[in-house]
Each structure stands twice: as structure tokens, then as C-alpha cells.
Symmetry: C2
Subunit: 335 residues, 2 copies
Amino acid sequence: MSTEPSTPPQVTSADVARAAGVSRATVSFVLNDTPGARVSEATRTRVLAVAKELGYVPHAAARSLRAGRSDLVVVPVSVSAIGRLFSEWVDEVETALGRRGYTVVLHGDRTSDPVAAAQVWAQLRPAAVITVNDSRMTAEAAKVLERAGVRAVVAGAAAPVEGVFTFVGDQSEIGAAAVGHLVERGRSRIGVVMPAERGLSAFAQPRLVGAQRAADEHGVTITPLPMRYTDDAASALALLCRELELDGVFGYNDEYAALLSAAFGDHGVAVPQDIAVVGADDLVLGQVVRPRLTSIRFHLPSADLLAEAVDRLVHDGTAPDLPRVWFEVVARQSS
Amino acid sequence: MSTEPSTPPQVTSADVARAAGVSRATVSFVLNDTPGARVSEATRTRVLAVAKELGYVPHAAARSLRAGRSDLVVVPVSVSAIGRLFSEWVDEVETALGRRGYTVVLHGDRTSDPVAAAQVWAQLRPAAVITVNDSRMTAEAAKVLERAGVRAVVAGAAAPVEGVFTFVGDQSEIGAAAVGHLVERGRSRIGVVMPAERGLSAFAQPRLVGAQRAADEHGVTITPLPMRYTDDAASALALLCRELELDGVFGYNDEYAALLSAAFGDHGVAVPQDIAVVGADDLVLGQVVRPRLTSIRFHLPSADLLAEAVDRLVHDGTAPDLPRVWFEVVARQSS
């Protein structure tokens, strides 16, 4: 069914002013709780009642234009490219910021150039921007945001970024931990899954770099393994791993690792006897599959600490450092 | 590391006007490409160059205040509560709307009261709001949005909603399809998993209603099974199913169904011989586990059709109906 083609009966603050018999300034004072504005209690009550009756909702952007600051927080993230653990953390961050009076919006992270992306976010004039994946925030992008009045530019990144409140979390440590564990288990010909799906290379590339670093240290070889997240692609890759006589695989994350591990089973390649498999992100999925999946768990700063830092940055321009993201191996049956 | 505690050097259109030696109105005409405004090509070029040099980004909200319309589309959705199939569709919708000049933001869907939620979205003064889960959009909530000038109020819902451009998709049909399939497989004591995680009851409740409807039709019994998405909870529930002598389970979705199916295996309950298991959403996960999971696949309107409808609603106030969401059983080894 369709809406009526007529113009919608949009209600403005002028309508409220007219119906309440007061000026638009008075309506604005009341609805925005302007400090120091002298409005009688009777007028305040009448304006609020009329606004409610007419169904008037204040305009956040107009309010922030007048107040000179916004309550909007932009979190650039692509919903399909993040794992369950991570998406739950994003939800918690939203809740924690909501409790502090912020409205969080997620913006799909489509633009590959960090400065161009920052220009899009800057147009929303948010109070804060929080990026959570490597290479998304640069010093130049931060300047664009700063010039647009963004008070808190926060980024999770492998190393501190100039002009950015950085919480350090180095994805390459995940790859290094996985390969270190496989070497401990006596493996020396190690494959590293590189997902073909869009949006994932920002995570996959540093994981590969860390895997290579650990492999160099231990004198073992790394083979990058391109894979799509489909049953057929996993099946073909399992056969290739057998042909290459690999004895260990770091599967990028638990989803890819579990899919590949199932394909090994189908082709009679025993996990972990013939080939050990390690995932990452410690999803519940790793405990759904048999053999249960060894994984790398990561520990992000708590949502509440992050929200507190954002609020401090918005109000004071400074905040105490957040704890570094850290990783640990959770050994199970697949390695 | 922290940003400097000094006030950021915010660049405004007044700075651009001063540096270019023109009025603020001229800056506005140039940067907003105002139709009919007479600005010489030389001035236009100078203003654009100065804006670029100073790093000035137009304010989307201020521009929409002037233009009387916004390019913002709000999609209320909780990132952790949606499956992979669905989140990929949301990503595609973002891309399709982006191609038509809209900026899509996702807003976490925290408020349980539809009108209160609509008031939060209305404050952003978007051009469009798209809700995608049952019971999220009501006629009252749509009125709040309409009064705030939202041109396109679009909802996926089980039945048409007054004043809303509805694309119909009835989650209860998923539960009905799952139970119908289990009955075909000779099952009569059927459990229906009810996830305990927040944000999921909007999907789980109608699925249970549909399961009950089909059970009544076929003269079989339904037992609701509360479950958390953890290994231990699945293990306890598997034992309970055995005690209750259930012979079929609809697992809410593929994730819960796969976790429960693995727990049956651990306790020596054979799937599908002792108990048949059906998931939903047809995630790749269903092909990762052994036995492979029977699932219910759903077919949403294409992202491009939806984006086109939004654009038509914004500009013309009307759009052709979208196809109804439909479901099919994908039978695999678990049933």
C-alpha cells in the first residue's frame, strides 16, 4: 500500500507558537530548556501541552545549530562485515553513549579514501566520530572532522594517530598469535585464509602481516589462501591445501575456519592430525562444530570506558588513555 | 594518546566568505548549487578553491533546513540482533540509496515503545525512515514522523500499516513452514526454540505464533524451549528435549538450531533419527555443520527496488507496491 500523495501536514515550532499564543523564541526556550531564559511556569506548561497535542518534535540539527554543539555520534561500520562479538560490543557502546545523552548512528563504511569518508561524516556535524578498524582514520581525515567542529575523534588502530584519541589494538597480533600456536603444535607449512568478501581486507591484511612476522621468527612458511564464504569455495580450498601438503591453517576468523574445517572432514583430511585449524574472534560457532575450534579471543576496552572517554573529550577536550586491546589463544580440539 | 585540550579551529562558511571576499549568501549559493542564483564563474571557482583550501565541509542539517528537505535515511536496526543474510541486505540497501544521493544511518533500536522511538528518529529530520521488523511501526508512530516532515515512512511488517508504505513479510510463515515440514517428516512432538537474547523476541514471537498455527492445523503439539546462545545452555536444553521425548525442533534460526544440534550429538541423541532439527534464515553455517541443517530461506524485495520506492516516495509521495517477502524450505540432512 502507498501513502497519500498529498503534502504531509508538517508541524513546525511556529505552529506551536501560534497555538500557544507565544513567540517562537519562547517556544524555543521552553523546548530546549535554555538556561537563563525567563519563562513563567504557566507559559512553560502551556507550550509543552500544545507541543504534545500538535505532535511537535524538536529538530536535533536545528537545536545543535543554535546550541553550537550536537549530540550525534557517528560510528562508521559495515553491518555485514563485522563478527558477532564485535557487533555486540558496538551495541553496548550505543547503549552506554545513549545513557549519557548521545544519539549514536552507524554509517556504512563504503568510501575507501579516509579523507573523502571524513567529509561525508563531517556533513552530519556530529559531536564525535568513532572508527574501529585499521587504516580508517588518518591525521588528514581527523583534521577534516576537527574543522567541522567534531569534538571527539576516536579510533581503534594499530598505532597512535596524530590528532586522534587512539585506543591501540593491533590486528596483526591475532595472526602472530595463531601462527605462534600452530608452531607450538609442531606445524611448519601454514596457510592463512584471505576472505574475498568486501569490507574484510582491512582486518585480513594486518592478520596476514602478523602471521608472516611470526613465521619469519620461527622459520616456517606462510601460504595465503584466497577463499569465498561458500561451501563450494571451502571444498575447493580444502583440496588445494591437501595438494600443497599444508599441516596448519589460520582461517582468518571462526566462520571461515569452521567452514574450511568441515570441508577437510568431507575430503577425509583429519583435523587436527593431518592439518591443524585455528580461527579467531572466539565466536560461539567455534563450539558448535566438531572438532571444536581453537580460536584467538580479543578483549576490547569496555563500552562504558569508551563512552566515558567520548563524553570527556566532548566536554573537556581530553580524556585518560584507554587500555590496549589484547588477545589470547583459546586452545580446543582443532589444533 | 589524547587530543590537545584547546578549542578546535572550526571552519565556518563565514571564514570562507571572508577569505574569498564575497558574502555568506554567495558562499551558500555556490556550495549548495542553488538553482537560479546568479554567481559568475570566476566567483564560483574562487569560492570552491577557498573552501577546499580551508577544509570547509557544508553542514548537511543546515543545508536541509534551508532547502526544506533532508537526504538522510534512518534505518532502525540493532547490529547484533540480525543475521548475516539480513545484514547483507541492509548493506545493499545502503549502497542502493547512496547511489541515489541519500546518506543512510543505522540507529540502534533500543526503545520498545514505537511512538517514543519515532520521536527520536524524527529529531534527525530524515527524508525517510525504513523499519524492518514487525511491531516496530504503528499508525501513531508514522504520524509522528509525518508531522516532522519525513516523506517516506517504509516498513516491513506482517500486515499493511495505516499511513505507511508497507512491504509485507510475515515472520509467522517461517514458523508455520518449519512445523509443516517436520509434520511431513512424521514428527508430532515439536519444540520451538525461544532465544533469550535481547532484541530477538520481535522475530521469535511471530515465528512461535506461526508454529502454533501449523501445529493446530495438523494436530501436533508445540513446546516453547527457552535457550541462551551458549554451549552450556544448548547442552542443558538438549537433555530437556530428551526427557520431554520431543521428536522435532524448530531452532528459531540456523545459529540456535546448529548449536542445539551439536549438543544432541554430544548426548548421543541422533539427528535426524531421534529428533529432526530445522533452522531458519539459510545461513552458510547450516552447511558448515554435520548433519547439514534444513532451513527456511526468505526472499526480501531487492535493495534496488526498495531504494527506488524510497526515492519515489520522497519526490512524488507515492510508489508502486513492493513484492511480498516469501519463504521456502531448504531440506538437508538434519530432518
